[in-house]
């Protein structure tokens, strides 16, 4: 199998969301995860602007400017949704009430540090949003990203080179090549795509990879 597409990464991440869990999906790839929610799972999607129960994007005739998510997308609400203010939205995050946060990342270190907020652009302002709260507060922190940069540099690293978003909190990483857990002993590969050798995956990574005994093939349907 080829490296996963963005949609396939999202599909894979969606498979791990348990029935009844409360999940925050970050901008970019993570929001795609909602599209691949398994049919048998009832999930509640949290948005840090004050929503639990974000539903599908609004169709053109459903669009309402008062109903937006944290990515400024026009959304609908799912059944059982609740609306509240930002202090509550973040009390949920920071108080450990969110089961899973799925975020994009530039780099994850072998000790679970995440760098995803400051790309050190020289001509643009900064943007932190809720990333530091999410990565620090959610019960389970999962990152979706390409395994390497466009120039082939690793994103799974010993120490992050970009400014940190949070320290030691990432639990799992979904890339186009592998599903990797961050354990107290460092990176542990749980799944990897078929056409890649362990050595080749290691070569694309900036820190030592261990491989789970039951390491399986990372596979996803055509999407």
């Amino acid at each position: 199998m080829q490296p996963l597409t963005r949609h396939q990464i999202a599909w894979r991440a969606a498979q791990d969301l348990l029935e009844g869990s409360y999940v925050n999906l970050g901008l970019g790839l993570p929001v795609l995860v909602a599209n691949y929610k398994p049919d048998d799972r009832d999930l509640m999607f949290h948005s840090e602007n004050g929503i639990v129960g974000v539903g599908p994007l609004a169709s053109e005739n459903e669009e309402d400017p008062d109903f937006v998510d944290a990515g400024s997308q026009k959304i609908t609400l799912s059944l059982g949704a609740a609306l509240f203010d930002s202090t509550q939205a973040f009390a949920m995050i920071r108080g450990g009430h969110l089961d899973v946060t799925l975020l994009g990342g530039f780099e994850v270190s072998q000790t679970g540090d995440l760098a995803n907020w400051d790309a050190k652009m020289t001509h643009k302002g900064q943007l932190v949003g809720g990333a530091m709260d999410l990565v620090t507060g959610a019960k389970n922190v999962r990152v979706t990203m390409q395994h390497t940069t466009k120039t082939g540099a690793p994103r799974l690293v010993e120490r992050c080179s970009y400014p940190l978003t949070g320290v030691g909190t990432v639990d799992r990483i979904y890339t186009d090549l592998a599903v990797v857990d961050v354990t107290s002993d460092g990176f542990l590969v749980r799944e990897m795509i078929a056409e890649l050798s362990r050595d080749a995956l290691q070569e694309k990574s900036g820190a030592t990879l261990a491989f789970a005994k039951d390491c399986t093939t990372l596979d996803a349907p055509k999407l």
Partner: protein, 231 residues
């Protein structure tokens, strides 16, 4: 008789002037007080401090506030403009003219609430070990490093809501609320613009901001551009 309704933008912004600090509600276009922002743009007030989630929507809708260098400081969670270009306010920041204090969004909301709730400072793990935690007092609680964060208060808070009554009670619609409650709590003067400052009181259990936090209610049409979320 308690009646916090005012008739004009001038009356709504009475007392607003040079050196004012303003909490501005709004997230993705929802709850943004566009009419009040426009009025601030049309004023001559300078040396302003803006405290808001993202600088972008103010710059997009009322660019003269920044173009005329009337803002000295922004406290926010997002100061990046859309697209590859450098916005006016970004350039002023790069040039060292404009101070931008970047705050994680949950800490931002909580610091504002703390300002309104009489809590001068609190500890939080958010930001510990990052550049945004640099220089802050650190203490360990339950095995986690936590930084000490301080309350934010301001002279004014402005927001848009679906409905407000003459007692200043406010009801939001959809995601309008966002920082509104915390901001209303933390401001010396809180101003709400609404299409519906009706004569009937909002039912007591349906209120999102109790009127004790609100000083002025202005009836004004929504001046939101169609694509406000994208500004």
């Amino acid at each position: 008789m308690i009646d916090k309704r005012v008739d004009t933008l001038e009356a709504a912004l009475d007392g607003f002037g040079d050196g004012a600090s303003v909490l501005v509600n709004g997230f993705g276009g929802a709850g943004v007080p566009f009419a009040l922002i426009k009025a601030i743009e049309n004023s001559s007030a300078t040396d302003l401090t803006l405290i808001l989630n993202s600088a972008r929507f103010v710059d997009g809708f009322a660019p003269r506030i920044f173009a005329d260098r009337r803002v000295s400081k922004i406290i926010c969670t997002a100061a990046r403009s859309r697209g590859p270009d450098t916005a006016n306010y970004e350039q002023q920041w790069l040039d060292g003219y404009l101070e931008i204090e970047m705050v994680p969004q949950g800490t931002f909301a909580e610091r504002i609430r703390a300002g309104g709730a009489g809590i001068p400072a609190f500890f939080t793990p958010t930001g510990a070990g990052t550049e945004l935690g640099d220089g802050k007092e650190v203490r360990e609680y339950d095995g986690k490093h936590c930084v000490l964060e301080h309350a934010i208060i301001a002279d004014f808070a402005i927001m848009r809501a679906a409905r407000a009554d003459r007692w200043g009670n406010v009801r939001f619609r959809g995601a309008q609320g966002n920082f509104g409650l915390a901001m209303a709590m933390a401001a010396g003067t809180t101003i709400v613009e609404t299409d519906d400052p009706g004569d009937d009181p909002i039912p007591p259990e349906d209120i999102h901001i109790p009127g004790i936090y609100v000083d002025r209610v202005l009836k004004h049409e929504d001046m939101s551009p169609a694509n406000a979320g994208g500004i």
